[in-house]
Subunit: 283 residues, 6 copies
């Protein structure tokens, strides 16, 4: 049984394998190996213990499968589905040693990714009807960025750049070195290829003015009050994509979105989402 | 300048290196490379933007050092220190390209680990004076267990087992397979070496009675009300170490600790701690 | 002595190390170890045996340095410099075993990268004065893309996307699946974040018309005759970046560039550049 | 479907996997994932766009298979076959996402290896009838030596040593250190085991005389004119294997071979062969 | 055919793969590839050439399987079985290239692990009837600890700690730093979690007295004469597990065991067991 | 302080690092970290507890150095030196945590390699004066072949091939597939390059006759009685290198060597040498 395959599997198989090895150490699962016969079978289901948005069902399945390819898994909910408390999201059946040995690893991935999807979904709901999108940042757990960005998409958000090399984002420290917005953007145009977009972080409407003069693809409007944001959006007038960032919470998201910005950038999606509580119940 | 060395460095250097590579991708830091001259210098400080407990100062330093060994870092606070908002925890000086390229990776480690230390410290404070300790679980981020367990120690907590192979923990699924507590413990005694401790999870005082009869090193008292916990501690009478687990929150921790248990087991320490907000300020 | 450091070193150290290990096998350098005393010193220079453009001086230096940190290297020419036959590009001095053991690996990197830079420079010269740029493709040697893209920049070219994940390029096979340009672009807009640019490959002016209607950031004008290219550039009228591709040679490059396209895409830069002939001469 | 297995697979699977990951980065194939439904199927063929010698059919197949084991591949030509323009060398059928995502990687391997096989075959043809063989050198692409040596065999050539540890080759720099041919060979005999052959590079007939006196297994006759080569072969009189090297081209190969040497050593086979032009056509 | 799966496979697959690659080098199996047709089949059996205890049958099978998943293996004896000279322990059938290429690697694992199991079994027999167990140490081959500890279990022994992190063992060098047993144990109690056991090495009955006063889980009675050991066991009186170590041989083991110690610690099990002589016979 | 560098370091650094990590697990050295202050210093010496031949001094030093580059090591004996009981072979001084944490790993490498060198030296002494050499086989510990082959050289032996790809050795199973010696050798000549030597295993003088007729570089005379070996050496008459193998022990080595064979092949050197007993003594 192969649940995840193709591109996704090539990208994440090693991460899941390392997760298993980290738990098994040098000696394997002492408890299970001592108590459970090699031939013993186990049958169970992973159940949500609280409401939330599912992300990582296939990854949990992969953890079991890497342990033993004969484990049978059925994903009863798809990633992106809303889970009610008590909902079964996957059933698992097969060699008990493999299932009990991979249980914690599978749940650790699933809880973290579903936690991110759940928080993202709450933000998306908060801005519903405004036309604004919710995007993540690079504030992700080291080693898990690909997975956490995926979880944001499961929650209905979309992804900002994946790393330092797939888009340009000029921030205050860069401006300090370059001396001016004009100079910074000119250096970028001169030194990088034509395929990445160029984004500029601005703190004031004065800086925004300069950004629009030299021309950039995206402006990051950092730490602006709603009223200032509204004026910024007007000034841009469609000449660039607009993102608001800085201290946006579930409480303030709707107000920020109402200013007309295209996207709200929320670092908390990946770095401060509590895990969704899930468990493996035997039958 | 070498900030982390010896055993710690051998254990974590690869994790930090992978964190950097994840951000640099194939093309490196497009923005910095375009704008910042190879010879340009940068000088700055990492500052806490909210109060919390520090963990990971040396890891942040290692991220900069791996990027360029000539970066000079001074740790102005040690791991385990309480940080007030605005506190500077390290200063960094050296090649601007290296510092700006490693900034996000350094902050991602620092924010996550300090977040864990901060939450742990809050639990430790909550049970102060009771003699009970706070311990973490295996509900950690895949790939970062060693670091997250370290952060728990920075917060004043202590570590439960690091994996499936350094202690035995017999849970309900194992009991279901073994048929009885007596049988499960006998199988463990027969099949594993004499160096790991044996812990047993019990849900009721009846199970506890059996556990004490066969003899185990640690009992995990799962999901018991304070009154039941108190009776359990009495029954054990020092014959085993006692741990309480299941839904313990900052609000309930003091009451649980007051029952006389030796340890409170709190999975949330690692899996649901929000990141501590930190930033790199140029000078 | 550290020649390459910072981001570049993090990105390529493992590639160079693997190159050395591939040559040393399990038994090391039998010949050198048998003949050369561990304390023997060697002093030499790497010399161009034909004219060309230099790329990879630092990588050659890194190969020697990884073998023995006490080797002293001076780069007498910088990457991007034009080399005349007989030109010395680096001098090396230190333990003879290390230098002779790394010689072939250093030269293999240097010859390949300088070969790419040289061919790129010839294309850049061919279009001089037209305003058009020369860009590479993803037709690179497996495992060496980061280095080969760097060599293209040393030759005066610029880089197209580094992989499948840093820009969108919709090709004929995608159009076949999507059914229409309109549908393909709509799916992309809906499913990806706002930071990557969207490029579309078109074979005809009719397709170009559709591309301009739905709006894309870059159009790849594939296999068009100069006259058609000229009309395409006119139709675009600055609404998108234009790239010409398909069978462009050193002979035809000037004519293609004269059509007004922004970039010429040349896969041969990386995949068919002959190595530049270089050698290590002892003194 | 498993196309490559046994020893070959063990040796190359990681190289192919790294090639795929290099292209997929952190975000995967943005274009394909956005446009192509997970369940969509694709059927196509890889076709030669110019004449050449095939090498790497199985490797291309492995790239598709690693992406998704359910892809069905039929190799319609075997490695070593001569391809006419338009010839189909493999057909591929299966999940469209996997096939489109692996396309470039598969073609990059195939184009490079077939390019090497093609150039080798041209050299082999050039010396047909002389009894001389064509051999490669260690001037290979870092990381791909095993594959490139294989491609040389597909072209009808044979392999010189794979690295510094499977045969001894004493060159001028070694002689400079050892002081004399006699001393160099004596040191080798004394310090290495009896299983590797010993080869010596000579530039003059005088050096050859010395080499024959001390006795070596192979002599490398470097940069000698045809007439000198002829005399060298006579002097050797079957007491050692003879190799000619240095600036041998397709134009001069026949003349060199006619001197009676056993092998012509051609570094260009691996380092300067242009890629063979191939493409994936949908059906 | 999958012989080893689940936890065991996750833990050892990479070790076996590296063993194969170490033998195949860059060029593969020259002899077999030259002589044996890709389609040729081979059928044979692995036979013990001397008496001994079997360990590693599944690992040998895995070596063949990793080479080619179509190889058919039947394990005719299970790990832990006593082998008489000439006994067949596994039969293998499938592609000849894969079987001959993996032969040496499979036998190297099997011979070493069975050698350890055999020596362990001799020690276990020597102490039969005394109630004492035989345990191994950390004196294992770098990289093979998990496997060698497993072989000890196949021989009827049991495992001491797997590494520095799963149990505490305070030795003389630690005591020298700490100043006293009391201080050393106090530091350990204060700095580590509650799950690992604490063991203390003592050389004299005076030290043992102190150890019992502060309380530890295990005492390692190092280099004591049988008479002293007997008194030590009496002094402990069940308050700690007792281990004897230091120069125990097959000749002295029974006498040491007769003193009443719980375990005999024998480093030689892993580090000085001669390989068991085994061979692959074709049919 | 860098004790091992150049080619040797590139080849073995990863093996030593893995050895350390295997011991440190996820939690590091619990005992040392708890008892020893980060700033504490340690000074000691590694001492031979029995007589033997040293191999691996630099590798032990590397283990300490990888743990902490500030550890100071002095090698007081060189590899290949004969050690008397009590001899100090290296002194070590520096951070106590690093030294105690690496102690076991350093000793494990040193004990195993010195054990091999010691056994080899005994064989070399046994055949002294006969002109015969002692060679090892591929029966080495998986993962440590490079190091074990080095240890054989430290003991005065020399190395047979390092793997399946640096020399041809035709054995009985190959002959069974090929049908005849003539056919097997012909296939080898036709399919492999000209740089590796060809060796053939023969069991009888009749087979030897055939081997000499077709011509090979080395003959392996397997399991022959001394008298038969003597006749075999005569038959060969210098036309090939001769090796005797099969059940050669320290007791029979001199008699075998006296037959005039060039080499005695002894698998036991690597696979059955007991570790040399060594220890780290604090000062």
């Amino acid at each position: 049984m192969v649940v995840i395959k193709g591109i996704q599997r090539i990208l994440i198989e090693d991460i899941v394998r390392q997760g298993l090895l980290e738990d098994l150490g040098r000696g394997g699962d002492l408890t299970t190996d001592a108590i459970v016969d090699p031939g013993a079978q186990f049958s169970g289901r992973i159940v949500a213990r609280q409401a939330g948005r599912l992300a990582g069902g296939g990854i949990a399945a992969l953890a079991f499968e890497l342990m033993d390819a004969s484990v049978q898994i059925v994903l009863t909910r798809v990633d992106g589905a809303e889970l009610e408390p008590g909902a079964t999201l996957l059933t698992v059946e097969g060699p008990a040693r493999a299932i009990l040995g991979a249980e914690r690893t599978a749940l650790n991935f699933l809880g973290r990714l579903s936690g991110i999807a759940t928080l993202t979904a709450r933000y998306v709901e908060a801005v519903a009807g405004t036309g604004a999108g919710i995007v993540c940042t690079r504030k992700t757990t080291p080693g898990l960025r690909t997975l956490e960005k995926y979880a944001v998409r499961c929650g209905g958000g979309s992804n900002h750049r994946f790393g330092l090399d797939d888009a340009v984002l000029i921030k205050d420290n860069h401006l300090a070195v370059a001396g001016s917005i004009e100079n910074a953007v000119a250096l970028v145009r001169q030194n990088i290829g034509h395929t990445p977009k160029v984004e500029l972080e601005v703190d004031t409407l004065f800086q925004l003015e300069q950004a629009l003069t030299v021309g950039v693809d995206i402006v990051l409007l950092d730490n602006m009050e709603p009223e200032t944001l509204r004026r910024a959006v007007e000034m841009v007038g469609g000449r660039a994509i607009t993102e608001a960032s800085g201290g946006i919470t579930l409480e303030t998201a709707a107000e920020v979105a109402a200013t007309g910005v295209d996207f709200l950038s929320v670092g908390a999606l990946a770095h401060s989402a509590p895990c969704l509580d899930l468990g493996l119940d035997g039958e």
